[in-house]
Amino acid sequence: MDLRYSDVDEAFRARLREWLSSELPKLPEQPPRDDWSARRGWDTDWQRRLFDAGYAGINWPKEFGGQGATPSQHLVFLEETTRARAPYVGVNFVGLLHAGPTIIAEGTEAQKTDHLSKILRGDEVWCQGFSEPQAGSDLAAVRTKAVLDGDHYVVTGQKIWCSYGQIGDYGELLVRTDPDAPKHKGITWLMLPMDLPGIEIRPLKTVLGSSEFAELFLDEVRVPVSCRIGAENDGWRVTNVTLSFERGTAFVSEMVDALRLIDDLSPYVTDPAYRRELGHLAAEMDGIWALTKRNITQAARTGVMGPGSMMIKYAYSELRQRLGELSMKVLERDVLAVDAVGEFVEERLRTLALTIAAGTSQIQKNIIGERVLGLPKEPRP
């Protein structure tokens, strides 16, 4: 057991650092937060730069255009890009961390050819249309219905909380193809081309005042059968494949970012009681970061995610809430203007969502209790 990066890893780090220091100053100014087409342009421009420099899809297998980096190189990549304050994956999140890996795992050859390299180059942006007004935590309760008509599914229903919905080219779409089957057995996973007729996108305003996500209204949208990932009615299994990527490294850069935020906040923390609290939070974050390293090594060694992978999202997101509260206390009356001091108040607002999105903390604890500890499920009513 060790935390040693090999010489090869360190050489990789040195090369990456050098590239970052020459590339980052060339980036154009960041667009305003509510100008989504500009944000798309900015985020995909960064993705293209990564692609051109040979860093796109760092942990994707080489045969699908990725870099096939070892887990430790992947960590180095995340550490270095976050420390250098390189752009976050942004609008490329769903494509790179969710849909792409799902296509790699479950897609046909044609689907791989059509999408993977475009995602890597920043030419194709994805959004996620899983949740519905009546299907949040209980995701398998999705009702959006899809009826087979020749070589198309005719899809009607409503999706909500669709991050990047207003600028996505494709959406991950869960639909009900068999209304009579038990709820987990009648779901199908489709790729939804967002420009099809019958799709209406209504941006939703978040607590930040901007529109990170949208509602989708689908009215007899004709989705080609060739857009189906996996078999008909096998979508719940595919969904679990998709969601498992969230237990991998999807949130790792958020964590390095939290470590950075702790450093950034520290100069403002003069009160000894608050400094002590910051010390506690830093220690916990270090522990969570260590657990992340554990998870990544375990997954690479055994191909199976260990128990820690089911815990990391809960641990991290709850810690982030506490860090946010500490920021608010430390800044005192400077919280009256979100942008008065640093990014702390904006981060406090943004991180309110972390214990809700991608499975609430309560759902995470159900998962830990049932799948890691083996406790009995609650009886179904």
């Binding site: 057991m1 060790d2 935390l3 040693r4 990066y5 090999s6 890893d9 887990p71 430790s72 960590l75 702790i262 450093d263 520290s266 100069p267 403002y268 923390v269 003069t270 000894p272 400094r275 002590r276 609290e277 910051l278 010390g279 506690h280 830093a282 220690a283 916990e284 270090d286 522990g287 969570i288 260590a290 657990l291 390293k293 554990r294 990544i296 090594t297 375990q298 060694r301 128990p307 820690g308 815990m311 809960y314 641990a315 309560q362 995470q364 604890k365 159900n366 830990i368 209790g369 049932e370 890691v372 500890l373 083996g374 406790l375 009995p376 499920k377 609650e378 009886p379």
Partner: protein, 308 residues
Amino acid sequence: MNFDLTDDQVALRDGIRSHLEGRFSMERVREGFDRSMFDELSEAGVFSLRADGFSWADSVVVYEELGRACVPGPLVGSAGADAVVDVIEGRGGDAVWVEHLASLDRLLTIGDDGIREIPAASLVGAEADWPLDPLTPAHRVESLPAGELVGTASEASRLLNELTLLTAAQQVGLSAALVDMSVGYAMTREQFGRPIGSFQAVKHMCAEMAVKAEVARAAVQAAACIMDDPSTGDEMRSLHGAKIVAGEAAIMNGRTATQVYGGMGFTWEVDVHLYLKRAWILETRFGSADSHADAVAEILPPADRSQR
């Protein structure tokens, strides 16, 4: 990087665990620490790990198991010694509580000027009638003898770091055992016609305990790896952090386990209180979570009054 137990470490863990399960049942543990226990652990190699070529990463694996089994005694102080030794922070003249005085061969003190050695025979104090942990007898020594200087200040701080690490490893073991006990109870105890573990309130308590234990284990093992190879991280930050999260995990899991057990959790018969009491005591050794948190804060970028 391989931040996971190696096959050898898994074997080491399983070996010591089965040894402890066989020889250190709770029945025996409840009889308290004595010389035979020391000899047996000594024979098993617990106190000579470093001399036998084991790393700090190996050592924390073993000490976690000692914590898991709730083995009492000055196990951390005796590491590397051929006698029953405890180590405390303090200096001549201090009024201190000494654990396991009757079993000790010597006491080491860690102070500003270095490590001092005090033969146990020269320690006098009244034994507490009612020790918090029935397995950790405590003596009040009103005036600590000065002892003889046996190590430099830098050796003292080295020793302090090592003992802090091993203590944190024991705390992880306590916290992990408390998870297992609680889950076991939650699966079998029934109320309202079903196992209490199927109630979400109970399930969530167990989940929180499991996360605490898992994060603490990662933190302690990371600190051990960094102690083995200081180029791989910030040694002091990781060590302070390990003691913080491990101490909190042990105490919080002790309290939560008490809750999961209901009234049984408040009884002498159920082992939970022994774990919680040990957790409270280990928290007092080699720096509390708060003192280590202050130390972590010192390592973070300094407060800048001009910012406020």
